[in-house]
């Protein structure tokens, strides 16, 4: 019963050299992944990158073709390992006729040391949904109910597969606040997301996946620094088609007279812009956001 410092030490969950194919499709191609105690790890990647498969293997839902998955130092098939885990999956239908309160009570019974019912309800913010049958909930409310089920067992490790899809802004903020509270309380979280802001807002560490492999890993700042692209925004009479042909320019978007240029050589691009249009105004140069960084990383997977 070792107390873990919460930073280094043995990982709570890991995949090493995991390969998995579904028919002709390679879902995971030698993936290594580690979840450390007390961190919020965000797994980013486009559709088909293998994020959901990676989580499925960590949970023992699928067996890897090669490589190994460990959960709390055990096989994920081990019931004792899964007692430390809470999970929110992307595609799940729960029994229509049960009420949200019933579902929470039922799932809590599976855990050795769950939160109290009221604590779980308050933490997930589902007080108003308790008496409603699951089938009567809206898409966003279903996600909130599923979130309540994920956290109600007081899991040491939480797997959230695109948890905020379909949530309105308020519900998303509530969930973010809860996630921060849980991490502060010592839980570890693995979160896959399409919302880049979500990783930027929450993650201690980011793993970028593409085509079943890990192509980058680090803090949000490190991931962003991997990418040299910058964005140059300005109002100009210069033609987008001309600018697009300049060396270093990888994209030009025009929006209401304002150009947004992505470039790998900001200085050169700005020099040419100023030369081409003396009346250029409202110039702004900034480092690409994680969103652009992410797009670049996943376009051409690094070896």
């Amino acid at each position: 019963m070792a107390k873990d410092g919460g930073t280094e030490g043995a990982p709570l969950a890991s995949l090493s050299g995991v390969k998995k194919r579904f028919g002709a499709t390679v879902a995971l191609d030698g993936l290594d992944l580690e979840v450390r105690a007390g961190e919020l790890l965000s797994v980013l990647g486009p559709n088909g990158a293998g994020k959901t498969t990676a989580i499925g293997i960590l949970l023992g839902l699928q067996a890897p073709d090669a490589g190994e998955a460990r959960l709390f130092g055990r096989s994920p098939h081990d019931l004792a390992a899964r007692r430390g885990v809470g999970v929110m999956m992307q595609e799940v239908a729960l029994p229509d006729a049960l009420r949200v309160g019933d579902l929470i009570d039922q799932v809590q019974a599976y855990y050795p040391d769950p939160l109290s019912f009221d604590e779980a309800v308050a933490l997930a913010g589902v007080e108003k949904l308790l008496k409603r049958p699951y089938v009567k909930l809206s898409g966003g409310q279903k996600r909130q109910a599923q979130f309540a089920l994920a956290i109600c067992g007081r899991p040491r490790l939480l797997f959230l597969d695109e948890p905020t899809t379909g949530l309105d802004v308020t519900a998303r903020e509530t969930m973010w606040a809860t996630l921060r509270k849980l991490v502060k309380g010592g839980a570890s979280i693995v979160l896959t997301t399409h919302y880049i802001e979500e990783a930027e807002a929450l993650a201690d560490r980011v793993v970028v996946m593409a085509k079943g492999r890990r192509i980058a890993e680090g803090t949000v700042a490190e991931i962003r620094a991997l990418v040299v692209r910058k964005r140059v925004d300005c109002v100009t009479t210069a033609k987008p088609s001309t600018i697009a042909a300049w060396s270093g320019v990888t994209g030009v978007i025009e929006d209401a007279g304002r150009l947004s240029i992505t470039t790998t050589d900001a200085e050169d691009t700005v020099r040419r812009l100023l030369a081409a249009d003396k009346a250029l105004s409202d110039l702004e140069v900034r480092r690409a956001g994680l969103s652009e960084a992410f797009a670049e990383l996943t376009q051409e997977p690094a070896e």
Binding site: A2, A80, M89, P95
Partner: protein
């Protein structure tokens, strides 16, 4: 900061998990009219119609007893057959099974909760049929005998669940209900539950679990029956084992 050790599950909590699963499985089906109404109401409606109203006073005590056995076997098989047949197929399809496998649900609780649900429904069905049989149906057997027969017939829930599980494991969600219905009605009629069979149908009646269950019920009630108890029990056990093994093979391969 974080204590990553996971406390063990006590026996008491494991038991509580099984009980809560059984409770919620029964509750959710009770709240699903498309399931609960046919399962609970059909046997008593059919029995009242064919065994009481239509047959009326013309039936002799012996035939009334026979109808009672037939409709009770029919009623007892329903919850298991549909509870497993349709639900397993649908839950396989909708991802509920995957979610449950990701959770630390005790091994076996998925099936145990459905079995418990089938028992609860079967007991309610039997209570209704026993009451109707004694009050209106001219059943001549004394109540203790009826209860003994009901206890024997309640064991039929297990093979019914096995048949259902087999359907649920193999049939697509969209057609599982149709397969379950055909199997249910087919088994009931082809095993001679309601009227005597002749020709080939008579010869192959022994392949249906319903036939063996009805013979066991008759034996328990001191009525005329065919075959011997050990053979009927053996056939039911063998059928159940084979169907469960085939279903388990299919279900585990998907994971």
């Amino acid at each position: 900061m974080s204590d990553v050790s996971i406390p063990p599950m006590t026996l008491g909590r494991t038991l509580r998990a099984y009980l809560s699963d059984a409770r919620y499985e029964s509750l959710r089906l009770l709240r699903t009219p498309a399931f609960a109404i046919p399962i609970l109401a059909m046997p008593i409606l059919f029995y009242s119609f064919f065994g009481v109203v239509l047959a009326g006073k013309a039936v002799s005590g012996g035939f009334a007893n026979q109808l009672f056995v037939g409709w009770t076997v029919y009623g007892v098989m329903g919850p298991g057959l549909f509870g497993f047949g349709i639900l397993v197929a649908v839950e396989r399809n909708m991802g509920l099974m995957t979610f449950k496998r990701a959770l630390p649900m005790p091994t076996g609780s998925y099936l145990a909760s459905k079995l418990a649900m089938a028992y609860v429904f079967a007991v309610v069905v039997m209570a209704m049929l026993v009451t109707a049989g004694v009050v209106f149906g001219h059943v001549t057997l004394p109540l203790p005998t009826l209860i003994r027969m009901a206890a024997v017939m309640s064991l039929g829930v297990i093979p019914a669940c096995a048949v259902g599980l087999f359907i649920g494991a193999y049939a697509p969600a969209s057609s599982a209900a149709a397969f379950a219905n055909i199997t249910y009605l087919g088994m009931a009629f082809l095993s001679g539950l309601f009227f005597p069979l002749s020709g080939v149908m008579h010869d192959i009646r022994v392949v249906w679990p319903t036939y063996h269950l009805s013979q066991l019920a008759r034996a328990a009630g001191g009525l005329k029956y065919e075959g011997t108890t050990p053979v009927h029990v053996a056939v039911l056990v063998a059928t159940t084992t084979v169907l469960i093994a085939a279903a388990a093979r299919k279900l585990s391969r998907r994971g």
